[in-house]
């Protein structure tokens, strides 16, 4: 199986090609975006974060699954698909950053998103050609992504509580993650795997989005952005979360933080079950590592808490 250095090399190769096609203003924005996401660097870690999306791993796992079914994916095809993963992901990030930024008058990120999408489509065509099945699916995915984007923006303006159902609808924004792997399935004529693969992506994303929302809890509260995690933890107990963590690390139960982590674990376990059903054996160690982190989450949180508390106290930071 292709290793991480080779993966990075293929990703960087396609990013460099896309960059070479860009005109100066877009290229400058592209450099800013890749720098922000740690791409086009010699450091492997940003490409494979412990709890991030398996952006570059997933197509490799799918290719490996196809190989066990006797279907070979050439290195060139795999390289192109990794390029699709990188460019497609950056396309979504560029739009996301534009939405998050205070000044939406500046169209730079939208221009960059267009350029990235064009490069991404060019690579997809090299894999799936004019396959009606694939491109119909692609249209559906991008439309549900767009709808989810607007739904999320709408929810934020109403100030309504975010329910589990809202959270799951918002996750349609992660649907484009399936596109590179869907291209491999289309080319291999194994389209029957697709619904389960989408289920896998949904569940892995949900599991990690909950943790990400937990780490962003205070920032989101400051910005007035509501999440399902904020509802789960509750408004009144927000300044007592550190106590919940200390108690949970000592075996206590019943806190809002615990409920968030349990929800995350449920999604994770669902993703592991789907992976097993799909025969994604190459994902096993990744899933096991993730589960170990989720089940042991209170210990590192407690350690980080003690470290930060000790630092603040040593600096005489009583208020």
């Amino acid at each position: 199986m292709i290793d991480r250095r080779e993966i990075r090399s293929h990703v960087d190769g396609h990013l460099s090609t896309a960059r070479g096609n860009m005109l100066p203003r877009v290229r400058t924005a592209f450099d800013r975006l890749t720098r922000k996401h740690g791409l086009l660097t010699t450091d492997l870690n940003p490409y494979f974060p412990v709890l991030g999306h398996p952006l570059f791993e997933l197509p490799i796992w799918v290719a490996e699954r196809l190989r066990t079914a006797g279907i070979h994916t050439s290195e060139q095809q795999l390289a192109d698909i990794l390029g699709v993963s990188a460019l497609g992901y950056l396309h979504v990030r560029a739009q996301d950053d534009w939405l998050d930024e205070a000044s939406r008058q500046d169209p730079t990120l939208l221009g960059l998103a267009e350029a990235l999408l064009a490069s991404c489509h060019g690579l997809l065509i090299s894999t799936v050609g004019t396959s009606g099945r694939f491109w119909d699916f692609h249209v559906g995915v991008i439309n549900s992504y767009a709808e989810s984007l607007l739904h999320t923006a709408e929810l934020r303006t109403t100030g309504a509580k975010i329910t589990r159902e809202d959270f799951e609808q918002m996750l349609a924004q992660s649907r484009p993650l399936v596109i590179p792997s869907a291209a491999l399935l289309d080319r291999a004529n194994c389209w029957q795997f697709l619904p389960r693969l989408e289920g896998f992506i949904f569940a892995t994303t949900a599991a990690i989005q909950l943790l990400n929302d937990l780490t962003d809890l205070y920032r989101d509260r400051r910005l007035g952005q509501r999440t399902w995690v904020i509802e789960t933890v509750g408004e009144s107990g927000a300044d007592r979360l550190w106590l919940d963590v200390l108690r949970s690390a000592c075996g206590g139960t019943g806190s809002g933080v615990q409920e968030v982590i349990e929800n995350s674990l449920q999604f994770h376990d669902r993703s592991a079950a789907i992976a097993e059903d799909l025969g994604l054996t190459a994902a096993e160690s990744w899933l096991a590592e993730r589960r170990a982190i989720l089940t042991n989450l209170f210990n590192p949180l407690k350690e980080h808490l003690l470290f930060a508390f000790s630092q603040r106290i040593s600096e005489g930071e009583f208020h």
Binding site: R240, W242, I293, H304, L305, F318
Partner: protein
């Protein structure tokens, strides 16, 4: 003098001095259950009001520290792809 702001500042300074380089003492200050004993080791004759005030301030520091802890966890584990 024993209830004034200057006296209270002195108490805090002594706690800070003790906490520096003594992680076990800091840990006891963090945990609510062990905090009072830890404070009384340094200042055996604190009034109820002074103790409550110290509790509130240490709770605030702990709450801010938890925000730091979440950020650190995020930086170490999530990376850019989320």
């Amino acid at each position: 003098m024993s209830e004034g702001p200057e006296y209270f500042a002195n108490i805090q300074e002594e706690l800070v001095r003790r906490a520096r380089g003594d992680l076990d003492f800091t840990l006891r200050l963090l945990h609510r259950e062990s905090r009072e004993d830890a404070i009384r080791e340094v200042h055996p004759k604190l009034s109820g009001n002074q103790l409550s005030e110290l509790h509130a301030r240490l709770d605030d520091v702990a709450n801010m520290s938890f925000q730091d802890a979440l950020e650190r966890f995020r930086d170490l584990n999530f990376g850019p792809f989320i």
